[in-house]
Amino acid sequence: MGKRPSTTDPYSKLFKKDIFKESDALDGTEDSNPVKKILSILNSDQAPEKQMREQWSKLRKFYISGEGGILPDHFHSIHINPNELDFSSPGSYPFLILPTGDRGSAIHSFGDWLKIKLLSAESPSPMMSKLLPRFVRFASDTLGTKRSDFREFWDLISRDLSQELELKGGELKEYDKTVQDISKSIESETRIIGFSAFAILSIIDEILMELSRRRKAKLAERIDELLPPLLELLEIERENDPSSNDPGHLQSALSFADHYFDFNKLSSVLPESASEHLDDNRFDRISEVIRSLQSGKDLMNHNATIIIDEDLFPGREWEADFNGLDIHIVKKGEICQFAEEYFESHIKLFSDVIKALRIARLEKSDRYRQEIHDEVFGAFSWRLFTHEEMDLAAPVVVLADTQTLIHDELAMFSRILGSGIPIKIMGINGAGETVIHPLTMAMSHRDTYVAQLNLLDPVIFYDKLRDGFGNYTPAFIQTPVEGLLTTKQLLIYMSALLESRAMPVFSYNGKKGSAWGSRFDIMHNPFPEELWPVYEYHLSGEDQETISSAFTYADYLSLDSRFANDYKVVPIDCWTEDLLPLGNYIITSEEDRYGKLPYIWLVNELGQLHKTVVSLRIVHLCEDVQDFWQYLQDNGGVHNFHAEEALKNQEKTLREEFDSRVSKLKEEFNQQLEKVARESSEEAMDNLTSALLDLDPDTLGMVGIVKSESAEPKGSSEESDLEEPATEKETKKEEEIVKISQDPWIESELCTYCNECVDINNRMFKYDDNKLAFIADPNAGTFAQLVEAAEKCPVHIIHPGQPLNPDEPDLPELIDRAAKYN
């Protein structure tokens, strides 16, 4: 595997200078209107054999060693051709974050938002609809890379644009009305954010502040719900205080009636309070809970915490990015450690409040059971939080250079991801580094949220980040931030990262179901079902030729000056069949690669295309990137190996089955065909015969006799079958009844719970769980008692049966009395 170059250069120097030159068409201002260069391939005859062989041996040497490679000035990957690219900011920029939406807040591109506003206006203005692109462009230019309060910003640009347009009369009126209506409809706290490398910081900030607002509201609601009932409980307790009956207290309460009462006497006759006192434990517990809940209100002043790598964008004024958040700048090597310690100590405060809320809820409905809950709450910690409760705690976010995390803090970094501590780690990588290792490592902890994001699409960025921040697991989210590039450079760079699979956008949510596949989302990449995105380019000339080319990692690396020596342009007269497009070369087996060399298309400033061989080192890097991409695809449900194998097998068995059935059917068909042919000739013969001989009357009579013979014996046997068991059953039933009436019994269902029988003998008569009397033990008393109970039972449901003890006195008389109730 190829070694990556070290990162000692300041990263602004890593990129080839000329592609980011501000002079040429990169400016892309509308008026300059660059001439669109047409791609072409120069024609040439093949070089003489000797020259060809020399060239190719140089190319092979270069391929293996990198020797003699050079990427000439003004040569660019066909996909990253600055002369062809139309530079405006990405489509979704600038974008708005609105405070209300399905999940609390929502993000929209400014253009979409404005379009919807104009379309849904009460009196749509066609003029304004025409002005829409102008508006978006103007907003984008005015805002630049900034973040701003949207209503203020809207008022500003609509005023400035109106001046620039020099509208008058009816048009001005129409314009003013529309922009004012829109201005009124803008909710406060709406932000507009421009395209810049640091837009993601604004998104982080907005999400955290928004989560914080909702969190505070929820916490306040729950405290306000549970605190008053507890306060009331204690208040009642105070009134119950026995001292409220003492003469002094009475005197002060009834002083107006001083001369009517003797307070000492009154005190002695007053009853104790009617209600029961709270026991001391409960009183203390409730007081404690009240204290915690009151202190919970203080916690609401705290928003979220953000812990920042000291070496990340040194000199940046973080307070401006994260106004309102609690910021800690930490030295590299100590970041994760700090985050963990900070989290544990901070969450303790929340856990006290959550515990108090839980106890309060139990106390409110009088469901606190000391024997169980004391122990549970004694060992209470944030790990017992429900998701809803976790939402009440302020999040802790780490912002660090990915390199720092894996080079200086790997152990602690992994520990956080594995421990379930919901710290959200943002791995920022600059310097053009493609870093796969921390992503796969983070996913290997399984119960994590892992994502790689690209700011080109802020809507996806926002959604995924919110998922990660709201998910109740540790999160690692990697995103590239290139702080020193111009807007246009940034756009090229970010697009190339995404297109070349250098940093595919994906998310892995460890909480999303038990099937691994369901946890992955890779659908926000260009052509997610392909290995590389493949684009078509038109060539100049009559015959409208096109070439298609894969946007590989090698195309991306051509931006990086560290790899300038890994490309070698092939002279046109040496192009042969042995040059393979890199995309094909990579998927070719080692043996079949023999004798071939991989190339990508480069284009010069004249729009001429050149096949350019890349070095083995680049091929290795491409293979690595492709391998990771395939891993994502496999998990993300695109080209899953097992699914595809299963599908193949299934297809095979189906085909086999199908084939065998077809041949069987064919065989059957042929047999059938033969048979029919045979039978039809036989039938024809039969018909002919019967027509000739007529029917035989005897045959009919025979059938009738056979029928009546078989019916009779069968019928009679059925009857006797039925009769016998019936008689048996009846005898059994009678026997049972006799047996039952000999044992004493109670029709329990009708028992009125009057205590008559139980009072006579509570061992013989008992109530069941439903308060219905039954005879628990007929031997626990005398027959005389049974008879007495039967007589006393107000609803006559006791049946004394026959005496069990033949030696009991007066039996004949008792049996006589019992008969009435049996």
């Binding site: 009088d366 939080f385 429900t386 028992c751 308060k771």
Partner: protein, 317 residues
């Protein structure tokens, strides 16, 4: 999520109430008194409906039957003679979260408490009301009550009573805004239970007239009641009580009756010689006074005091 499911710890055990959770002391009624049956079945109902004892209150007036709250391990209010209804109304009005039951006797309800009774029916505040009718004053040992039948011999009418009795069902059905009227007997526990349940489930003033045996002072009635299954008429049909098929089958006489038809109900009530069992009338749409009273609940004591002070401050000079 973090290892142990929190609900297992926090909510555990989801309190399950058993019969013992509703039983206080052994009832001191005479053996064979019908009150026992009602007590037992009410405790069963509480258990089956899993009523939180701390959220349940039994309110009574004075009488043998009115001792009922003492035997329940719930909240109770053994009040003044004939005044169970005003107390219960006040409780429900200010504490709509409580389950309110009222126990009253024929003397308590139809004699001294008749005024409160009529208005309670009309108020239609959500509560379950059991009128224990033994046709006698039991606690004070044998005085004729307004529901005693003509000719009742007691210490107040030694030569036999002379006026025809009040029929509580008839009276109840005559009051405007009546919402639930049922009749049952203490000596048929399954029907008693089913009726209590239907009444409890009904939202509003659910009135149950319970024919109750008093073997002490109305022993003559006991045999007449329990020895004769012919005089019981089970009301079947629309909106009645729910009985098992086997229980239904055990009644010889059945009468089809639409409980939503007040005229049909009043016609039945005109035949006091027959004991109709079941729901006479049910109107869930009747207006509920408690719904008009429960508007300003939920203030803490502090809030109430400060509101009062504010009002009183207006009179400061």
């Amino acid at each position: 999520m973090y290892g142990i499911r929190p609900e297992l710890l926090d909510e555990f055990p989801e309190q399950y109430y058993c019969l013992e959770d509703y039983e206080k002391v052994a009832a001191k009624w005479c053996p064979g008194c019908g009150d026992h049956a009602v007590l037992g079945n009410i405790q069963k109902l509480c258990r089956d409906e899993q009523l939180n004892p701390a959220k349940t209150v039994f309110v009574s007036g004075i009488g043998c039957s009115s001792r009922f709250p003492h035997y329940m391990k719930t909240y109770g209010f053994h009040g003044l003679h004939g005044r169970a209804f005003p107390v219960a109304s006040g409780i429900k009005w200010r504490r709509p979260d409580l389950n309110v039951f009222v126990i009253t006797g024929d003397g308590d309800c139809c004699s001294i408490g008749a005024g409160a009774w009529i208005h309670a029916i009309r108020y239609n505040i959500d509560m379950t009301v059991m009128l224990f009718n033994n046709e006698i004053y039991g606690l004070t040992k044998n005085q004729t009550s307004p529901t005693s039948r003509i000719g009742t011999v007691s210490s107040t009418t030694p030569l036999g009573s002379v006026l025809p009795p009040i029929h509580p069902i008839q009276t109840t059905l005559g009051v405007s805004n009546v919402s639930f009227v049922a009749q049952t007997v203490d000596w048929n526990p399954p029907h008693l239970y089913a009726t209590l349940k239907a009444a409890y489930k009904h939202k509003g003033f659910s009135f149950i007239h319970i024919l109750q045996r008093c073997p002490k002072f109305q022993s003559g009635l006991v045999d007449q009641y329990t020895g004769n299954k012919e005089n019981l008429y089970l009301l079947t049909g629309n909106d009645g009580v729910e009985l098992s098929d086997s229980m239904k089958a055990s009644f010889k006489n059945k009468v089809e009756h639409n409980a939503n038809d007040i005229y049909a109900a009043r016609t039945l009530a005109e035949q006091p010689d027959r004991i109709y069992l079941g729901v006479f009338y049910r109107n869930p749409e009747a207006r509920r006074y408690d719904e008009y009273g429960a508007s300003n609940l939920g203030f803490t004591v502090d809030q109430k005091i400060s509101a009062l002070n504010k009002e009183l401050d207006k009179f400061a000079v």
